[in-house]
Amino acid sequence: MPLSETTRRVAVISESADQQHLGIALGATLRRDLNRMRRRPGDVLNPLVFYALAVSLFPIGISPEASLLAVMAPGLLWVTALLAALLSLDGLFRSDFDDGSLEQMMLSPYSLTALAVAKVAAHWLLTGLPMALMAPLLGILLALPMHSIGVLMASLVLGSASLSLIGGIGAALTVGLPRGSVLLSLLVLPLYIPVLIFGSGAVQAAIMGDAVLPHLAMLGALLAAALIFAPWAIAASLRISING
């Protein structure tokens, strides 16, 4: 996005400050990110293509046997979703850092914490949600039993929101670093493990015919905890990266 437009939009944000409407600032940030991604659809499509491609590698690498694939499908779909989400994280703050928009956000009268939430929400809408919508197709590729596909989608919708929030911390910490993306995976993947456990656990339970709700409830609890803690950590990390 050209710099002039960035400053114009940030000016819009600053003007609305006078009215003390945080909601407007949040909406503007969200719209801005959604627009930017609409103009560069590659950034949205790449993680999705990666997701589909990586999932289709497993039958080739392991075995095309449907019975074998069905056993591994929940784990494979979730691990690959983790990696696809990771792939998209580096771009979360990168361009805003490079063109100075982040500094403008920091200078604006609104809390950086709230604006960071809006940015993460846009990221989730354009990576996590499409991944969840695409998952049924990939489930079919891996011979996932039909009755568990709804649970797969639900677990991905809930889980990927946590992934975006937790990943936002890593992205904010590494955005100022020249080779940050390698470090990013080291920082973020260990923190993703609880989401992975309950996400693939939900799908496995659905296949076995066990109770699914406890797993989904845990995913919801993780999301609630991430919503409470991650925005502050993201804002603090962005401040460090901008100064650093």
Binding site: L187, F198, I240
Partner: protein, 246 residues
């Protein structure tokens, strides 16, 4: 109270205090470790099921204890550094991180060695081994992040944030991994409830745990002191110290 905290936060004062404390910590560490090892390895009775191989516990459990508490200590130091801008806290956090990582590795390695006689395999995806492995990755992440920043202050603050994020996540990771799978024998040693082991096995373990903690404190003091000297090399009191040493 506040006066004391600010006084403690001054590198010079801490350096002088730790000069006096350090020998005591080393003395206690060596005494406890030697007593505990000799007692545990030679005099404690062999386990009726595992035989002599259970003696790995005298290294494994203290290392695992330290691995977890060092991370908490590091996060607390990070919080102190972020909130009150006490640079000394960050020097201590920087000194602690590699020690914690090494302790985590020692716990993992001794656990793997212990696994051969008891489980018949080097590695098992058991809940505690798994969460230890994740802890090791968290440590490596904190160390790598600190090193990645060009400016020391930014690296310090980034590492502090990550340590705090990690410390919130450790219980979540631990419980989710426990929930995921558990094969490990139930906890053999807790401070709150009566131990399941006989006293003559349990006492040397307690001594070893205390010894490991003293060793860790002594080593942290030593490393923090060298960090102080490195960062304050241009300060007048350090220059005088160097002059005196000559």
């Amino acid at each position: 109270m506040w006066g004391l905290i600010h006084k403690l936060g001054s590198p010079k004062w801490f350096y002088q205090l730790s000069t006096r404390l350090q020998p005591w910590c080393w003395g206690a560490a060596v005494l406890l470790l030697v007593t505990g090892s000799v007692w545990g390895l030679f005099f404690a009775p062999a386990d009726y099921q595992q035989g002599n191989s259970f003696r790995i516990i005298y290294v494994h459990v203290p290392a695992a204890f330290l691995a977890q508490s060092v991370f908490v200590a590091m996060a607390v130091a990070g919080l102190v550094f972020m909130v009150w801008k006490i640079k000394l806290a960050d020097m201590a956090a920087a000194a602690m991180a590699p020690l914690g990582a090494v302790m985590t590795f020692v716990a993992l390695f001794s656990g793997a060695v212990w696994g051969v006689p008891t489980w018949g395999t080097w590695w098992m995806w058991d809940a505690r081994l798994t969460s230890m492995l994740i802890l090791l990755f968290l440590y490596i992440g904190v160390i790598a992040l600190r090193g990645a920043f060009g400016r020391r202050d930014s690296g310090a603050r980034a590492a502090s944030v990550l340590a705090m994020v990690g410390v919130i996540n450790i219980p979540i990771i631990k419980y989710s991994v426990d929930w995921w799978y558990t094969l490990h024998q139930p906890a053999s040693f807790t401070l709150t409830s009566k131990p399941a082991m006989p006293l003559e096995m349990w006492l040397p373990l307690l001594i070893m745990v205390l010894g490991f903690y003293c060793f860790f404190i002594a080593l942290t003091l030593m490393r923090t002191r060298s960090e102080i000297l490195r960062r304050e090399a241009k300060a007048k009191w350090v220059q005088t110290l160097i002059e005196e040493a000559r």
